[in-house]
Each structure stands twice: as structure tokens, then as C-alpha cells.
């Protein structure tokens, strides 16, 4: 086992995976409290076209992902309420983007292999330069989240009151979606476009059902994200796991832990109200 950890590609996978898990844990918490989990899904599909386009241009797919998800994030943020009308229009935009991605990939010679790795992630094949990019953007996202943490939390729980108290709710919303875009781009490298939910939303969805207090829920969400990623990579590289894909392990763990928590936690509808009241208490004190 320790011999395995000395391989550079495994070290790269652990470093990048951990950074992504931490940022995704925090962003996922806000996605849930803001009711925007679908935006994460949509942004990752839009990112697929970007990643595939970057391949055609001979650029690193991460660059294409970042460009597409950030601009889509800004677009969704500026359009604001439109995303709630999610079903048909967003679905068709996602379809268009996936179609574009299919076109770009067919233009690229390594057709299937590259498509597969963008769709389902290739953390074990991550390059040194991608680890570097992931590190920079993860740290930047983390710092940005710290800077806007309190107003973002406030506006996520009670938009009207936050607005009345002078919090720039709209601007925060746009900034947050840009951060979601960056996080999605980073997460795609670990679990791929199609399994983004397992790392971005899964840990936070489990954590918010167990802990109502925001900081505790975020901490648990980060912990779960790291756990899934580490165990996933470990199982994939060790003999026990039978050489199955990392993203499958992360998806399975994320679901296996979410399911019993979801079924046995009784705080279904009250979660939001409770969290709101606990927050307004803490902000009042």
C-alpha cells in the first residue's frame, strides 16, 4: 500500500482529489441551501462542450471547462430567476451543449477515449500541470468563499431580509455561480461531467440531514467528500477493489451513505426552517 503511494500519478490523484473534495464540500452546502443543485448539474453538462472544444483547439480541457462553466455561471446568475423554470429550457440548452461536445469530440482523433474521460473522470491519469491548475483554482475558490462566507450564508437562508439589510444579494448570487463553475470544472477531473452530483452535492446532502448548524454541516460535508475521494482512489488502485473506476466507487459510496441518512432522518421539511432560525439566532446574538 505505502509502496503504491510513492508513484507520482497516485500522489497527483490524492492531492488533486483532496483539494477538489474540500472546495466541493463547501460549495455543495451552499448549492443545497440555495436550492441550486440543478445548476451544478447544468453547468457540468455545459462544461462538456468546453472541454471537448478545448481538445479540438489543442488546449488543456480544464481551460475549456473553466471558460464555459464560468461564462454559463455568470449567464445564469444574471438571468436570475429563469433557472427555476428549469425543466424544458435548461434541458434544451444542456442538450445543445452535449451535442456540440459530441461534434467537437468527433473532430478530435482520439474520439472515444477522450470523451469517456471527460464524461466519467480520469483522476488517476491527471497530469502534473492539471494538479497545479487545480491547486491554484481550489485555493482561490476557497479564499473567495471565506471572504463572502457570512453574507452568502445570510442571503442563502433569507434573501429578502438580507436584501433589506443591504447585502448585495444579486452580486453575491453571480459571484457564487462563478465559484460553482470553477468547482464544477475542478470536480469534472475527478468524477467526470456525468457524475458531478456525487462529489458536489452528495456529501453536502448527507451532511445537512445530520447537522443543522451551518459550520458543522460544512465541516461534515468536507469530511465526507474527502472520505469518498480517498476511499475511491484507494479501492481503485489497490488489489481489493479489482481495478474498477474511481468515479464508480465515489458514486457508490456517496449514494450508499446518503440513502440510509435520507431514509432515517426525520427532519424532512423542517430542516430549512430550523437552519434559518438557528442562523438568525446566531446572527442576532
Amino acid at each position: 500500500m505505502f509502496a503504491l503511494l510513492q508513484y507520482p500519478f497516485i500522489q497527483n490523484a490524492f492531492i488533486a482529489g483532496s483539494l477538489v473534495a474540500i472546495v466541493a464540500g463547501i460549495v455543495g452546502y451552499f448549492l443545497l441551501t440555495r436550492g441550486l443543485t440543478f445548476a451544478g448539474h447544468a453547468l457540468s453538462h455545459i462544461g462538456f462542450a468546453g472541454a471537448a472544444g478545448a481538445l479540438v483547439l489543442g488546449v488543456d480541457p480544464v481551460v475549456g471547462l473553466l471558460v464555459f462553466t464560468i461564462s454559463a455561471g455568470v449567464g445564469i446568475g444574471i438571468l436570475g430567476k429563469r433557472l427555476n423554470e428549469r425543466d424544458v429550457t435548461i434541458g434544451i440548452i444542456m442538450t445543445l451543449m452535449l451535442g456540440l461536445g459530441a461534434l467537437f469530440i468527433s473532430l478530435y482523433s482520439g474520439y472515444a477515449e477522450r470523451a469517456y474521460s471527460i464524461l466519467f473522470g480520469t483522476i488517476l491519469g491527471i497530469s502534473k500541470s492539471d494538479v497545479f491548475i487545480t491547486a491554484i483554482f481550489s485555493v482561490l475558490t476557497f479564499i473567495a468563499l471565506l471572504c463572502i462566507f457570512r453574507p452568502l450564508l445570510f442571503s442563502s437562508f433569507d434573501q429578502e431580509v438580507a436584501e433589506a439589510r443591504g447585502v448585495p444579494v444579486r452580486l453575491l448570487g453571480v459571484i457564487f455561480l462563478v465559484l460553482v463553475g470553477i468547482t464544477v470544472s475542478m470536480s469534472v477531473q475527478v468524477v467526470g461531467v456525468l457524475l458531478i452530483f456525487t462529489l458536489l452535492v452528495g456529501p453536502a446532502a448527507t451532511a445537512t440531514r445530520l447537522i443543522h448548524e451551518p459550520l458543522g454541516a460544512i465541516a461534515l460535508s468536507i469530511f465526507l467528500g474527502l472520505l469518498y475521494t480517498w476511499v475511491g482512489i484507494f479501492l481503485a488502485i489497490s488489489d481489493i477493489g479489482g481495478n474498477w473506476p474511481v468515479s464508480f466507487y465515489i458514486a457508490a459510496l456517496s449514494f450508499a451513505i446518503y440513502l440510509p441518512v435520507r431514509l432515517f432522518s426525520k427532519h424532512e421539511k423542517r430542516r430549512h426552517n430550523k437552519a434559518t432560525s438557528s442562523f438568525s439566532q446566531s446572527s442576532a446574538s
Partner: protein, 280 residues
């Protein structure tokens, strides 16, 4: 040009594409009417696990998809009320199912092109046998939809009133889910798991912005579906770009143009749908 149409794989692609476009357009009308676009999306993802699981067992991927989507349809139909608006729960289940698909794929083959075929469609490799199956299943789906057309329409537009008048709303919704599952499986053949929206939802959603009458909406939606599929196939044969790219692009462009112009024509179009049973 004519030589092209003499090749069997081209004929198969056009035959299958035509059947699927018609079935998807009609079923899609109800999907849009019943606001079940997300169910269509979910069923297609579940189909991915079915297709790859079938490959693992050495069964035809079409059979695997039918079984998986059929079971999922029963589940979604039974839980219908409970899963509305639950993005997180649905997202978690879908991701898990996709993850399973990835696993099946890895166990079966290391070739990624298999996966890409299911995800983005492989109409050009449809065999004559598949065409027959698609035709039979498509006709079956249309006939069963024809049997329940009026009550289903009623139940879709106004479930409460329909229930009060003794229409078995719950049964119809389950029944429709199964038809939807079959249609999704068929549509996956042409456009793939990821682009099912392009054939199933986009034509009907566009048609609904143009006309409000049920029958003309269905007709228009069939016309859209056929035009997208035929021109997509045609261009794909000439240019060698993927069919699903053309179909997705045409249907999306058409949708946005239609929405744009219908907003221009009537800015306040948010009133409820025309009620087919009497004035209301």
C-alpha cells in the same frame, strides 16, 4: 445521392429514425403537457446502466434498456407525487445509476467507443433486426397511447376534475410512464442517452408555443421531429459529423426561435392550457 440511399445501413437508419421521430414526438407532447421532462431525462440515464449491464450479460443492449427503463418507470410512476421537485434525491439516484453503468462497462470491455455509442447514439449501426424491433415496439407504443388518448389528455390537463369524473388517473399515469420508458429506449438508439431531450421534449415544447390545440400540437411536433431527424441523418451522411449533433442543434435552435417569436407575438402567454372538455 441516390446511390447513398441504396446502401442498407442508410435505409435502416432512415427507417428507424423515422419511426422513432414519430413516436417520440407524440409521447413528447404528453411529456411536456404533464411537465415530466425530468422523468424522461431520468429514464434515459437509467437506460445507460441497462445497456451496459446487458452488454455484460451478453444480451442485446436494447433488451437491457427496455428492462431497466420499464422497472424504473414503474418506480417513478408509483412515487410520482413524492418525487416532484426533489432535485437532490433524483440527482443522487441518477448519479448512482450512471456510476453502475460505468462499472458494467469496465467489467465488460475497456473500449470506450461502446460507451460513447450509447451516450451519443449509434443510428448508423442499427441492424435490420433492430429496425424490425423498433418498428414493432413503436407501433405498440402508439397503439396503446391511441387507446387512452382522450382520457390521458384529460388527466394530464386537469387531474382533479378527471379523477372526479371517474377517470383512473393513477393508472393512466403509470401506464404513460411505461410508454415513456419504451419511447426513451427507442430514442436512445438515434440520439443516445444524453440527447434524448432533443427528440422527445424539444419538438413538442416548440410546437406548444405555436398552437394550443392538442391535435395540431401533436401534428406539428411530429413534423418537427421528422424534419430534425431526416435533415440530421442526411447531413451526417454528407459531412460525417455525428447525427446526434445535428438533431440536438436543430431542435434547440428551433425551440429558441419559436420561443423568441411567440414572446414577440404575445408577451403574456402564461395563461393555462386550452381545456379540451368544455369551456372553463
Amino acid at each position: 445521392m441516390i446511390e447513398l440511399f441504396q446502401q442498407p445501413f442508410v435505409q435502416n437508419a432512415f427507417l428507424a429514425g423515422t419511426v422513432i421521430a414519430v413516436v417520440a414526438a407524440i409521447v413528447g407532447y404528453f411529456v411536456v403537457l404533464r411537465a415530466q421532462a425530468f422523468a424522461a431525462h431520468a429514464l434515459s440515464h437509467i437506460g445507460f446502466a441497462g445497456a451496459t449491464g446487458a452488454a455484460l450479460l451478453g444480451v442485446s443492449s436494447l433488451v437491457g434498456m427496455f428492462i431497466f427503463t420499464f422497472l424504473a418507470a414503474l418506480g417513478i410512476g408509483a412515487l410520482e407525487k413524492k418525487i416532484q421537485g426533489r432535485d437532490t434525491e433524483i440527482g443522487m439516484i441518477l448519479s448512482f445509476v450512471l456510476g453502475l453503468g460505468v462499472l458494467f462497462l469496465r467489467l465488460y470491455t475497456n473500449s470506450a467507443s461502446e460507451a460513447v455509442g450509447v451516450l451519443f447514439g449509434s443510428i448508423l449501426s442499427v441492424s435490420a433486426q433492430d429496425v424490425v424491433l423498433i418498428l414493432i415496439v413503436g407501433i405498440g407504443a402508439l397503439m396503446s397511447l391511441g387507446l387512452v388518448f382522450r382520457p390521458l389528455l384529460f388527466a394530464s390537463i386537469d387531474p382533479e376534475v378527471a379523477e372526479a369524473r371517474g377517470i383512473p388517473v393513477k393508472f393512466l399515469s403509470l401506464f404513460f410512464m411505461v410508454v415513456l420508458a419504451v419511447t426513451v429506449t427507442e430514442a436512445i438508439q438515434v440520439v443516445g442517452v444524453l440527447l434524448v431531450f432533443a427528440l422527445l421534449v424539444a419538438p413538442a415544447a416548440s410546437a406548444q408555443h405555436i398552437t394550443k390545440k392538442p391535435f395540431s400540437t401533436v401534428l406539428l411536433s411530429i413534423v418537427f421531429g421528422l424534419v430534425f431527424t431526416w435533415s440530421g441523418l442526411f447531413l451526417a451522411f454528407i459531412t460525417r459529423f455525428p447525427v446526434s449533433f445535428y438533431i440536438a442543434t436543430f431542435s434547440a435552435m428551433n425551440y429558441f426561435v419559436v420561443v423568441y417569436f411567440s414572446h414577440l407575438a404575445a408577451p403574456h402567454r402564461l395563461e393555462p392550457l386550452h381545456h379540451p372538455h368544455g369551456e372553463k
